[in-house]
């Protein structure tokens, strides 16, 4: 009797585990299939317009003289902020290249994770811009 229960529990556990695996796979597939070229294009153009344009304009102000801060009368770019913007953009660019490569090749393995990573680095970049008045 005990042996039979154990077999039943083992079967139930295996069934649940397998169901969990199938569910996870199904969710991954669903998420991956919703990340299309159009999804990428929307995010991409949004990033270029909302981050790269103001970041370029900020950089074009010219660096502040050492020991000075930007003012309305004499706007200038803080070297430290520019470096942060450059590094953040480099991370976003690498993530875009990765996601675009997966979409183009039809490789859905890891696409959801890569897309999540892309969203995270974009949010970090936009956070740096917002925190430093780059808009």
């Amino acid at each position: 009797m005990i042996k039979k229960l154990c077999v039943l529990s083992f079967t139930g556990l295996l069934s649940l585990t397998l169901s969990g695996c199938f569910l996870t796979d199904a969710i991954n597939t669903l998420e991956a299939t919703t990340i299309t070229q159009s999804t990428y294009d929307e995010v991409h153009q949004g990033y270029v317009a909302a981050f790269l344009v103001p970041a370029k304009n900020y950089r074009n102000l010219g660096y502040c003289a050492t020991g000075t801060k930007p003012t309305l009368a004499k706007p200038c770019a803080d070297r430290v902020v520019v470096e942060k913007l450059q590094n953040a953009d480099a991370a976003v660019n690498a993530a875009f290249i990765s996601v675009q490569g997966m979409i183009a090749s039809g490789d859905n393995t890891g696409l959801s994770a890569a897309y999540k990573g892309l969203q995270d680095v974009i949010a970090a970049a936009e956070g740096i811009a917002a925190a430093n008045g780059v808009h």
Binding site: H44, V48, L52, G62, T68
Partner: protein, 73 residues
């Protein structure tokens, strides 16, 4: 209006106009892209994507340029 004021005003207007033109030039690829995505509800066409990618490369190069070393303040 004396000549000095006129020149100063003209310079100010020219500066503002150059800013506006720059903004329009920057915006053009995005307007096309948004039209594709939001109005046509289609992926970007090859020419629009190429235009957007070119603008992106231009902006990134400007962000990373070392050719504006002048201290402004």
């Amino acid at each position: 209006m004396d000549p000095a004021t006129l020149i100063a005003d003209a310079a100010a207007i020219a500066t503002i106009l150059s800013e506006v033109v720059t903004t329009i030039e920057d915006a053009a690829p995005f307007v096309k892209a948004l039209y594709n995505l939001l109005v046509l509800k289609q992926p970007l066409t090859d020419d629009v994507r190429a235009s957007l990618n070119a603008k992106e490369a231009e902006l990134r190069a400007a962000l990373n340029t070392a050719s504006i070393p002048a201290d402004r303040a």
